[in-house]
């Protein structure tokens, strides 16, 4: 039996695997790289905050209230209680970023599981799961978050729970739709014809092919999560003072907007910047994953 003579495999295709290709394309996207860099800087700043030689974010001083940006010793000014803004912003990043990412991660795990089960099994199971998520999905996310937080009370853990619940339905929906479309493909049929159990088929054949799109969708939700968390803190339902958190800072600096608008706007600017970077990165990820080789 003659072996097939090979045709020259295009050099691009020689990079192994799918994720390697995604990473390669992402590396070539300048906007995504810049945003990734900014986010990385923010994350590192948040993690290593205690070792950065910053002022104490809880230490206030009545003399230094609302000092403008550029005051010696307070690079970004001071807030309404005289606490250093730079320190507050960097420490505040910890909580805001945590509350932006952690609920999405939890919702990703739970929502993907639900969506996979619903999409693969179809029929009654699908109907029950999807209609239940539809009920939650019918509420606007802000109202739902407020309602759940209001019921559970303020605090970081409660915020986390509330935001997770808000994000499970949209992720489950995307997961179900992608799973259903993969399930209809021939290679899944071939796996069924070899007698594999449903669980094995999902693990080997379906999971790898659906995680990508769901992951991209989930990253686009992180900015929403961050804004919702900041919103909850703003309303007094999330983080409690004196913890630094950008949303909470926006609230407490509200009245200062007439006295020192630049300082008052800083937390909002940070929220905006982080949210923008997350969205652009998520977009870049989606384009990198979209290319059909």
């Amino acid at each position: 039996m003659a072996a097939v003579t090979d045709f020259a495999v295009p050099s691009e295709a020689r990079a192994r695997g799918y994720w390697a290709g995604v990473w390669r394309r992402l590396r070539r996207d300048p906007a995504a790289l810049v945003c990734a860099g900014v986010l990385l800087a923010l994350a590192l700043g948040a993690i290593f905050a205690p070792w950065l030689g910053l002022a104490d974010p809880y230490q206030g001083s009545m003399i230094r209230r609302l000092k403008p940006i550029g005051t010696p010793g307070h690079l970004l000014g001071a807030d309404e209680l005289g606490r250093d803004m730079l320190a507050r912003l960097i420490y505040g990043g910890r909580l805001t970023l945590f509350l932006g990412i952690a609920p999405v991660v939890c919702a990703f795990v739970i929502g993907t599981t639900l969506g996979l089960v619903a999409g693969y099994l179809g029929g009654v199971v699908n109907a029950v799961i999807m209609r239940t998520t539809d009920v939650f999905f019918a509420f606007p996310s802000v109202l739902l978050a407020i309602a759940i937080s209001g019921a559970l009370g303020a605090g970081i853990v409660n915020s986390l729970v509330s935001l997770t619940i808000v994000f499970i339905p949209p992720i489950a929906r995307v997961a179900e739709s992608v799973t259903a479309s993969v399930r209809a493909l021939d290679y899944v049929d071939a796996a069924r014809a070899s007698g594999a159990s449903g669980f094995t088929i999902v693990r080997v054949h379906v999971l790898g092919n659906v995680l990508g799109p769901i992951f991209v969708y989930a990253t686009s939700l992180t900015s929403v999560a961050m804004i919702l968390a900041a919103g909850l803190s703003f309303l007094g339902l999330g983080v409690r003072p004196p913890e630094p958190e950008w949303g909470l800072m926006l609230n407490t600096l509200r009245t200062a907007i007439y006295v020192n608008p630049w300082v008052a706007a800083l937390p909002g600017a940070m929220i905006f910047l982080t949210s923008l970077c997350l969205n652009i990165l998520s977009d870049g990820l989606r384009s990198a994953m979209n290319v059909r080789q």
């Binding site: 039996m1 493909l185 069924r192 092919n209």
Partner: protein
């Protein structure tokens, strides 16, 4: 490379020969597959009668070609054989053992495997072809190392050098190579019956020729039986020993390939053969063999399902369904047409 030195079959794979060479490998009787149509709660329940009372048998070492146009049910019939479609009624007997009685679906899947049409969806894009081929045996409990060795051996047999191709992903293969991988995946389970569902339809003609040669070699080396489904009559004529013609979920004609070609009994078979493009530029086709499109399997015509497009249709054709009967006394060649049934009432039929 000697193709006769196969590595020993790992215990959980393959189905040993039970009935001997004269027992048909596959005997299907009255196969029926009806899909419900998803309507709203206010519409009447309708069904797609994809396969309706199909009976045939496949002898060991034979190639049975199944031809027909879209909606005829040939793909659904294939999927019934491997349990990918629900069997509404009928029985499947594999090497003397009946599915549901002394044959489990798991065992049937050891005996019969399917090769799908090449497309981007036929192989998992996230698995190397080595892993794709080894998946079946792994499911059956073959150890990873043994499964890998099996996959490499198969890659050699299907003409893909394991050193170069084992670690490749489907997008790094050409259409013909992907189809070889598809065949390898099906063979990994050591089946006796290979169902090829439009396996060469999407390939270029030169690649198709390569793959057909490969299929002929594999059949001889592995003692295989083929159920070859295609809409392309030229391929079926080349490869098949017997041919079954399907229309709208039913068998209209079945018999040895050469007999069918020379002596087409059913008008639909005749039309299918006439629809093959001519190869002589001075002798082009002048009239279309058939008008209209293949109808919908949801509401098949009453009586003979072909009568709405048949040039010879008469009133009896719309009233009664013809049964498969021997053509010109040849028991191996059957066709379902009132014109062939003596005393049916059709003007062209002989008197009873």
């Amino acid at each position: 490379m000697s193709v006769n030195e196969a590595p020993p079959t790992p215990a959980p794979l393959g189905l040993p020969d039970v009935g001997g060479p004269r027992q048909p490998l596959l005997d299907a009787a009255g196969l029926t597959c009806h899909f419900p149509v998803r309507g709203g709660p206010f519409t009447a329940r309708r069904v797609v009668r994809a396969v309706d009372g199909v009976s045939f048998s496949v002898g060991k070492g034979e190639v049975l070609g199944v031809v027909g146009e879209s909606g005829c049910g040939k793909s659904t019939t294939a999927r019934l054989m491997v349990g990918l479609a629900p069997l509404t009624a009928g029985k499947i007997v594999f090497d003397g053992r009946q599915l549901g009685e002394d044959l489990t679906l798991t065992a049937l899947r050891l005996g019969a495997q399917m090769v799908f049409q090449d497309s981007y969806a036929s192989l998992n894009p996230r698995l190397t072809i080595e892993d794709s081929i080894a998946f079946g045996p792994r499911v059956r409990g073959v150890s990873p190392a043994d499964a890998r060795a099996l996959a490499h051996d198969l890659l050699k047999r299907i003409g893909l050098d394991p050193a170069r191709f084992a670690g490749r992903y489907p997008h790094e293969l050409s259409g013909g190579q992907r189809q070889r991988a598809n065949i390898g995946r099906a063979l990994a389970m050591k089946p006796r019956l290979l169902i090829l569902d439009e396996a060469v339809s999407a390939l270029d003609k030169s690649v198709e020729a390569q793959v057909l040669n490969l299929l002929a070699d594999l059949k001889a080396d592995h003692d295989l039986t083929y159920l070859f489904i295609s809409h392309d009559l030229t391929v079926v004529r080349y490869i098949a020993d017997r041919v079954m013609v399907m229309y709208l979920g039913e068998v209209v004609e079945i018999g040895p390939a050469e007999t069918l070609y020379r002596n087409r009994a059913h008008p639909y078979t005749d039309a299918l053969f006439a629809a093959m493009p001519s190869m002589d530029p001075d002798n082009r086709t002048q009239t279309p063999p058939l008008t209209g499109d293949p109808p919908n399997p949801i509401d098949p015509p009453a009586g003979c399902r072909f009568h709405t497009r048949c040039a010879f249709a008469e009133s009896v054709c719309g009233a009664r369904e013809p049964a498969l009967a021997a053509v010109a006394g040849d028991a191996a060649h059957l066709a379902a047409c009132h014109m062939l049934e003596p005393g049916s009432g059709h003007s062209k039929a002989r008197a009873a």
